[in-house]
């Protein structure tokens, strides 16, 4: 049992007051190890709230440097950080916010070679990446290692998220069996995004993580939540588990993580007839075809 200092009791008092959290819940948060992949539009608010909440170990994966065009939505990075590694810029802000948190920077790109060893040290994984190859790689790695994964995606004024509990519900590949063909990748004009949607979806992802840590409420496991900020429509759509899913189905063919090439998808798996990317979901109920749903 952790003995909180007076300072910690005060810092976390608004959590401790909650019946669903209390001192015991706050101890669970302090003991939790969460990996946030991507320190961009989604990863910044996710990490910000998890650090504020006192998550004991917070891993941040990103190989990029801060760009001026990031600042419109990537709220951990400030103007003087342009050009600096994102993990360093994010780590400084998170440590300044809450010195109780051990921030572990992973300044690297995840590949089939390193993904399993990077996620091995964590209890929960958050996907805040901006491309399909990474998203499928992370999904497969989490399913194969049985790690809960909170997925999020944003584009324009829209966003989506779901929680994947391997062995207990559908995975990202049940929903979208394959990355979209390169032609679906958004054009420059289509790649615009309202900064605040990153905050909406990232904050919801952080909420899912905290509920998983605390074991309270109902998560989005088995559901896709889609958000449209232009109409303010929030829709929770049931997503079925796909018995034929290549990674979590009854006869999985993916037994180890593998890399899709970035942008040009010409992996042998894609030589087969592509399946509909929105299997089982009425098209009006998703934020858009997955090719348009780009995470930043």
């Amino acid at each position: 049992m952790i003995e909180f200092t007076d300072e910690q009791i005060e810092r976390y008092s608004r959590h401790i007051i909650l019946k669903e959290v209390g001192g015991k819940g706050q101890e669970k948060i302090a003991a939790a190890r969460v990996l946030v992949i991507g320190a961009g539009g989604l990863g910044c608010p996710v990490a910000y709230y998890l650090a504020a909440a006192g998550v004991g170990t917070l891993g941040i994966v990103d190989s990029d440097a801060v760009d001026l065009s990031n600042l419109q939505r990537q709220i951990l990075h400030h103007t003087p950080d342009v050009g600096r590694p994102k993990v360093q810029s994010a780590g400084e802000k998170l440590s300044a916010l809450n010195p109780d948190v051990r921030v572990v920077p992973h300044r690297q790109r995840l590949t089939s070679q390193n993904v399993l060893s990077v996620i091995a040290d964590y209890d929960i994984v958050v996907d805040g990446t901006d491309n399909f190859p990474a998203r499928f790689l992370i999904n497969d790695a989490c399913v194969l290692s049985g790690k809960p994964l909170v997925h999020g995606g944003i584009l324009r004024f829209e966003g989506q998220l779901t929680t994947i509990l391997p062995g207990r519900g559908p995975c990202y590949r049940c929903l979208f069996p394959e990355p979209p063909p390169p032609g679906f990748v958004p054009s420059c004009q289509e790649a615009g995004v309202l900064g605040a949607i990153a905050g909406v979806i990232g904050t919801l992802q952080a909420t899912e993580v905290l509920k998983l840590i605390l074991g309270i409420g109902e998560t989005l496991a088995g559901y896709l939540l889609t958000v449209d900020l232009l109409t303010m429509e929030f829709r929770r759509v049931r997503i079925p588990k796909n018995a034929e899913c290549e990674v979590c189905g009854e006869h999985p063919s993916i037994l180890a993580p593998f890399d899709y090439r970035r942008r040009t998808i010409n992996h042998a798996r894609n030589a087969r007839r592509p399946r509909s990317p929105v299997v089982g979901i009425p098209p009006t109920h998703v934020a858009g075809p997955p090719g348009r749903t780009r995470i930043t």
């Binding site: 049992m1 009791i9 005060e10 008092s13 401790i16 007051i17 019946k19 209390g22 001192g23």
Partner: protein, 83 residues
């Protein structure tokens, strides 16, 4: 109210501790006790005596006694069963 002859397992002096920190400290201490054990606390008049007993009762604990003593209030709280 007459103080029952119960033996408090622990005591917290929360004189000068404002809401909601007095409640937070009481709640944390009760969490570490076993159901049925009794905690003694001292809290200020005003907002604390209006709020703390209500919050503690809402958490499923029982206020056994509440009496003024030297300008503050002395409460005996029986730790409730685990939710």
């Amino acid at each position: 109210m007459t103080t029952p002859t119960v033996c408090a397992k622990a005591s917290l002096n929360l004189r000068g501790v404002a809401c909601p920190m007095n409640y937070v400290k009481t709640k944390l201490r009760l969490e570490r006790m076993a159901p049925g054990e009794v905690l003694e606390i001292f809290i200020d008049p005003g907002a604390p005596i209006r709020n703390v007993p209500r919050s503690i009762t809402g958490d499923g604990h029982r206020v056994l006694a509440c009496e003024p003593e030297d300008g503050v209030f002395r409460l005996l709280i029986e730790r409730g069963p685990d939710a």
